[in-house]
């Protein structure tokens, strides 16, 4: 066969052509992601319309046209037609933060708040020198915080009726979170143990708590708990609420952790037994570290739920941030300003809850070891 039979034969590889125009870069991305089909195009257009018809309006309302300096809603409205009247927040932010806590004693809750982070350091920082001793010191935090906030022993006592705002939310939320985790672990271990009586006690408790709304438990704390206590014994209402919220959250926590315990392969339990570890050793060294790691998303979800649920205390008359809306509206000068108040409180809760959920995602990634 002679070389002339073919008109053209490639003797070397040709350089690759660039991809067709319109499939790369911004245009290509938009084509593929936004306009790949008629339905997709319609969805894109609707979404863009929604974004452009709401976001600038909200932005203008909240920032551009908003008023920070005014003494009443009427003054605000006189200054701007469609802007937020943040003046009410400026005037009352201290109430939303501390409730009716005496102004001159604000340093006490602030100090307690700062100490909270100091106490958290040993718990969150693995490589801390002398971590054990530091953890023990952290254990005293609840008592210190209690002393700082309520007073007594040399500090001017402050009654629970004065507590409110974010301070109250933090008291209930933080104590609920820190006590519900250990109680939840104990409940989960009891429920998945093979001791029938312990197991059924845990089941009864968990199913009872999970079967009723939190509000009924708060009612119990509010009107009924006194009946169940010996005569003369009387808990503070905030303490009663904290106990109920903690019990409530710990039942949910128990179910989340039980899910983690059940998700561990059976071989882990058997391996622990084969090593001759006792029940508590195997739990502490092998089972719980893995089970808790699996259940982190659920645990944090429970925390977030608990934090959001603290608002329910307004129904039994405590002044959490949401409970302070009514007294503010009752003020002649601020009558009718509900949008700004709700937006501010929503923003406050959003910050905390969103931060918690992002932290859990970070933790999940950090602890992810590639196998479960």
């Amino acid at each position: 066969m002679s070389e002339n039979t073919f008109a053209y034969v490639a003797t070397s590889e040709k350089p690759q052509l660039p991809p067709p125009q319109g499939t790369t870069g911004a245009v290509g991305w938009a084509r593929e992601n936004l306009f790949s089909s008629p339905l997709n195009t319609i969805l894109t257009l609707i979404s863009v319309f929604v974004v452009f018809s709401t976001v600038p309006g909200i932005f203008n309302w909240a920032f551009v046209n908003s008023v920070w300096n005014a003494n009443s809603l009427d003054e605000c409205r006189a200054l701007t037609e469609n802007g937020a009247c943040w003046a009410v927040i400026r005037e009352r932010y201290h109430q939303f933060l501390f409730g009716f806590y005496p102004t001159e004693l604000y340093w006490r809750p602030i100090l307690a708040f700062v100490l909270l982070f100091v106490a958290l350091v040993p718990a969150l920082w693995d490589g801390m020198p002398k971590r054990g001793a530091a953890l023990m010191a952290s254990m005293t935090y609840p008592f210190v915080a209690f002393w700082l906030i309520w007073g007594g022993f040399g500090l001017e006592p402050v009654s629970s009726t004065k507590l409110g705002g974010l301070l109250l939310t933090m008291i209930i939320g933080v104590s609920g979170i820190s006590f519900s985790l250990p109680i939840g672990i104990v409940l989960a271990l009891s429920r998945s143990s093979n001791l029938p009586i312990v197991k059924s006690l845990a089941v009864i408790f968990i199913e009872f708590i999970r079967g009723v709304p939190l509000i009924t438990l708060l009612f119990v704390a509010h009107v009924l708990l006194n009946y169940f206590l010996p005569k003369g014994v009387n808990f503070d209402i905030v303490l009663r609420v904290v106990i109920m919220v903690t019990l409530f959250a710990s039942a949910y926590m128990a179910e989340v952790i039980r899910g983690g315990l059940a998700a561990l392969p059976k071989g882990q339990y058997e391996a622990a037994d084969a090593l001759g570890l006792s029940y508590w050793q195997s739990m502490r060294l092998i089972i719980l570290p893995q089970a808790l790691k699996i259940s982190i998303p659920g645990i944090v979800n429970t925390f977030i739920g608990l934090f959001k649920d603290t608002t329910l205390v307004l129904i039994i008359g405590l002044m959490d941030p949401l409970g302070l809306v009514a007294p503010t509206l009752a003020d002649q000068r601020w009558n009718g300003i509900f949008v700004e108040l709700y937006a501010f409180i929503a923003f406050m809760f959003f910050i905390f809850c969103f931060a918690m959920s992002r932290y859990s995602m970070y933790l999940e990634r950090k602890l992810h070891t590639g196998h479960r």
Partner: protein, 400 residues
């Protein structure tokens, strides 16, 4: 190595109760039982003592006394002269009503959002993410109160609403609630209802028969159209045969107010709306997790077998994702039911508002009211969990 050099000492020592694995579990359990029982006994004896000291007894006779308060939104005949038990019943029905409505709408919105969240369309999926994160991270109670305030301020008073109806003579939106046409039932409506129920039963029989026929012969019937026909045709015929016993009661615009029709109060609307919007975000996450859990290979295998996308969805993907989706979905419905107790914040008279609210305050019978209230919620929750357990058992992967 010698085996069993321990002498067979059968004498029992007290320390064995703790040190010997044979007895330890009994010891722990007996201690737990004793502690639990003594705590319960202590609580009960305290309660008895305290009630006695206050001169209160423990009986449910108050349920038959007249309630003496009005309820805005009722599903059964109720006046202030009805007994407290009737008020509690009204409350229970209201709880179930708003829970049911919110479950339906939350599911519809949530499935929609969940699917869009997974869409390849970047703008749409971002928008849905913003919705989900924004709604999930704000307390439900705040949302209920905010929507309630919005509904009260945005909609006109009945007087103004009469001039600006949504649909002239039929639908009016006011700040006290929505007025829509209600149903009226005249004599003979039972026939129509009976026929409707019978045709629904007929549909199940037919579909089963059609499936068996398809499996036996391979022939496919137009099941959808026939189902629709069975549902509509007999009922419509019965409706006309019985002399049109079911009619519509339109709201009538007076000068200052609206009369007749069905009034859906603002508290119910606000609660329904807030519950739906809030729970839809959770439903969306459940749906997303369920769909993402099905590996891509399943869809590709179905395509390789020559199934169309729709059949792939209904025969391969959905049956598998439903197994993952339904259990959290049911517990979400349970949460909706429990969250509906927040109705008390906007004055919607649900079970918590009647039995745990006004009845409790009027009669001063905290113990009885709270017991009944908790027992009712517990009953609802446990029955829903029972349904879930049956379902889980039926779809469990067999043989693994």
């Amino acid at each position: 190595m010698s085996t069993s050099t321990v002498p067979a000492d059968n004498s029992f020592q007290l320390s064995q109760l703790w040190r010997d694995a044979r007895y330890r579990s009994y010891t722990i359990q007996i201690i737990a039982l004793v502690v639990a029982l003594s705590v319960v006994m202590m609580l009960i004896s305290n309660a008895v003592e305290n009630l006695e000291a206050l001169g209160k007894d423990f009986n449910f006779g108050f349920l038959y006394e007249p309630a003496g308060y009005d309820i805005g939104q009722v599903l059964v005949n109720y006046t202030s002269a009805s007994g407290h038990w009737k008020a509690a019943l009204v409350g229970l029905l209201n709880t179930l009503l708003v829970a049911f409505l919110a479950c339906v709408t939350a599911t519809i919105i949530g499935v929609f959002v969940g699917v869009l969240r997974l869409s390849n369309n970047w703008v749409v999926s971002r928008l849905m993410a913003v919705y989900i994160e924004g709604v999930r991270n704000v307390p439900l109670l705040l949302q209920i109160l905010a929507w309630y305030a919005v509904f009260i301020h945005v909609f006109p008073t009945p007087k103004q609403a009469v001039k600006a109806p949504v649909i002239e003579g039929a639908v009016y939106a006011t700040n006290r609630g929505f007025y829509i046409p209600g149903l009226t039932f005249d004599g003979g409506y039972q026939i129509v209802v009976a026929v409707l129920l019978a045709s629904i039963a007929g549909i199940f029989v037919f579909r089963r028969w059609a499936r068996q026929r398809q499996e036996a012969t391979g022939q496919i019937l137009p099941v959808g159209y026939i189902t629709l026909g069975i549902l509509i045709v007999p009922s419509v015929l019965a409706y006309f045969a019985a002399g049109m016993p079911i009619g519509l009661d339109y709201p009538v615009a007076g000068r200052f107010n609206l009369k007749g029709g069905l009034k859906v109060g603002t508290p119910l609307i606000a609660l329904w709306f807030a519950l739906s919007i809030y729970s839809a975000a959770f439903v969306a996450e459940i749906v997303r997790a369920g769909i993402m859990a099905i590996s891509k290979g399943q869809t590709e295998a179905a395509y390789a077998l020559g199934l169309r996308p729709r059949r792939t969805m209904s025969l391969v993907v959905l049956p598998q994702s439903l197994r993952i989706i339904i259990p959290p979905m049911i517990s979400n419905y349970l949460n909706i039911t429990k969250n509906s107790s927040l109705a008390i914040a906007v004055g919607y008279m649900d079970l918590t508002g009647t039995l745990g609210g006004i009845t409790l305050n009027q009669t001063g019978r905290e113990m009885e009211c709270m017991l009944l209230l908790m027992a009712t919620y517990l009953l609802i929750s446990l029955s829903i969990s029972a349904v879930m357990n049956v379902y889980n058992e039926s779809v469990k992967l067999k043989g693994r």
